[in-house]
Amino acid sequence: MNDSVPLIHVVDDDPSFLKALSRFLGAAGFSVKKYESASEFLSLRPLGIPGCVVADLRMPEQSGLDLQTALADSPDPLPVVFLSAHGDVPSTVRAMKQGAEDFLTKRAPKEDLLLAVRRALDRDARERRERERQQDLHHRLSGLTQREREVFAQVVEGKLNKQIAAELGIHERTVKLHRTSITNKLGLRSVAELTRLAKDAGLLP
């Protein structure tokens, strides 16, 4: 749905490292945008562009973890790769628990760094696609009538037309008509597909 070039956001309060990392990632073929603090990133980053964040874990005021939390709550989250000048266990654990894509020291081999960035980008792409699909599904579900949603809910639970008719107090033939309308509206061809969609939409466990 979005074919734009992924953008790597580099956030670090150390100007020298910020410059060096950005330079490297640029040379490695990535589009890079530099930020000297978490707040700068959060306020200035362009939205809706795939990519990832490579951020220093320790920064004055807002740390890398603060940035991640804020980012996760945003409508346009991005995976974050944490960097630390020196890796220590407690902060690593915290970072990973909060869903950090990766945690690397600033002097990690470039292969590791590039791998982490690519993985993050992949994940961003994947999540971005999924988010788009979900949005599309919700959009389609929002086109169903009230009765159709009720029937849809019964269908994805795997109930038979007869059971649904009895449940809703309508005729079995009416149930069939609703089912056809639902698959048409959602662009589905089979009940199996419907069930999978319902599951994706979070309607099924």
Binding site: A20, G26, A27, D88, T105, K106
Partner: protein, 746 residues
Amino acid sequence: MPRFHAWIAALLGVLALAAAPGICNADSSRPLRRVFMLHSFGQQFEPFHTIGTTFRTELSLHSPGPIEYYEVSLETARFAEGEVDQPLADYVRALCAKQPMDLIVPIGAPAFRFAARHQGDIFSNVPILVAGIEERHLKGTFLGSRTAVVTFSLDLVRFVEDILHILPGTTYVSIALGSSPLETYWAAEMRKAWQGFTERIEFSWLDDQSLAGMQARVAKMPAHSAIVFGFIGVDAMKVPYEQAGALDALSAAATAPMFGFFEPELGHGIVGGRMIDVRRVGTTSAQVAIRILGGEPAESIAIIPVAPAKPIFDGNELNRWGIHSSQLPAGSEVRFSRPTLWQAHRWKLTALVSLIAFEAGLILLLMKNRQRLRTTRAELLKNEENIRLAARAARLGFWTLDIDRDRLWITDEGRDLFGWSKTEPVGFERFLETLRPKDREPAKREMRRALSGGVDFEREHQIVLADGRERWIATRGRAQKNGEGKPFLLSGVSMDITSRQRAIHEAQELRRELSHTSRLSLLSQFTTSLAHELGQPLGAIQRNADAAELFLKAHPPDLVEIHSIVTDVRNDCQRAGLIIERLHAMLGHREIAVQNLVWNEVAHEAANIVRADSQARGISLEIETPLGLPHLKGDRVHIEQVLINLIANAMDAIDTSPNGERRVTISARAKSNGTVECSVHDTGPGIPAQCLSGIFDPFVSTKANGMGMGLPISQTLIETMGGRLWADDHSGKGATFRFTIPVADS
């Protein structure tokens, strides 16, 4: 002065009463009278000599007409009376036949007896005047007609009683007496008279002695003894003694008071007593002679006794024998009461005595001074000994430097101190040689300063002894100036302070060790932070290297970018290097290095070390630097250590109050007293009042794993730099620790 002359005469004892022979002046109109004087021994024998002389003088003076004297001596009477009369009698007869005599005057008993024997044949019809015989001689003697006698009396018993009165303790009396018949007579009289005293007194008779023998005897008189000078005309060796010859000889040798019978003896060594006044005998005789010559019959005059004189004493002899005048019989006359030296030479003596008194005073003063000197000297010696002991114990060396001659006098202890032998001549140059080469020039400068500026020479220096041992010596000296104000001596003291210096050194070492340990402990809290700090430039270098690699692979390589990378890498290398240097400074052992510092740099360096940690803990660290803050004078590492310590404490304090603001502010401001006050403020809970006073005590910690050494060590470090460290509580709004550092010299 006459008394003085009299005293001189008596002292000399040589005044002879000269006889005035021949015709005396008188009324020449009156008929000449011839007086024939018959002497018993010789004219010069006493007491007859005095009687004769006085008689002749008196008679000449008072006689109405001129008188011619004829004098003859019975020389033989000294030996044997009467046996050899005839030749003398013939001579006298012939004389008197030629010149008819008007008066015959025998003097003394022998002459009296001669006259008596020859009154009939020679002196018929011529009156006889016996001038002076002891009344004893009249006993049994028939006084013929035409004879008058002037007598005197010797009371022998009273004589001894008087001696005993004057000298009550007398137990021994020697009697010096001649051996002529007259003297022998008297010896017998005395023995007889003094029989009653023999129980009390031992009498020693010297009449069998020569004068020399008598002299020897009287020279060895026992205690409580007296000498009686009887009468010595002739001694046992038949040697005649005229006038006072024998008496003078004995008196000179006598070792006991000597008593005599006749007044003329006074002045010749006789103490005195009731003596026969022989002059009065002479005078009385002269008066009687005038009467007889005037026509008065001699027999009508008969016997005229001359009373004994009142007691007379010789003042010199009394003094000589220590006899006090109170011991003398009542009514005594003291003659020659020799004017004491005082009376005779009052002025001379006054002067002399004054002089002596003055000198005595001086001597006394001198003696007292000497005593005091001796005491002082003893005390000095004692003090000196004490000082010596103290000096030895304290290893003190005293010295004096003669500046012009460069000669150093120094005690043995001092020589030991500097490692000099006891005999080696030393001076300032030698002193300099003892010092380590680098200390010599400063010592010279100090010396010049002491000599020119009038200040004390004061140095602590290290010397290396011959055996390689090192010794610290403190020397202090002061210049002494001569009259022109030029210093010529430098005196002082040197002391071994090796042990003190060692103790100071050890204390310093210990303090440094402690400060170092504390620093290590402090920094260990920030290892992560430090690693993080160092990780920044290293990470940048790593990434730049990676980038450069990629740029190099490009066709064509982006050389501009690569050049930029090289520059950045170099900068980061420098940055990393600085961090390592600072770490090394913080972690290593080091000497204190006071230098001028910029507050901002020091504060940031300290903050950088803890920054990563503060960030991890969500604590903001702010540094405030007012404009125009002066430079500080101190040791960079120590100030940073203190700041880090205070920041660490501040962060820990903040962690104990999880809610609220989490901020540490480091700031500084110039004060008017030449210091900069630096402060570390936190937003923690503050310091409980009961803890405020004890927080700088060692081993006081509110932290679970705190050793409690951070603040005491920080305080020591600040105080070593001349500053002060204290804490303020802001009651619930955090705490502020402040310290002062002196402002750098501009």
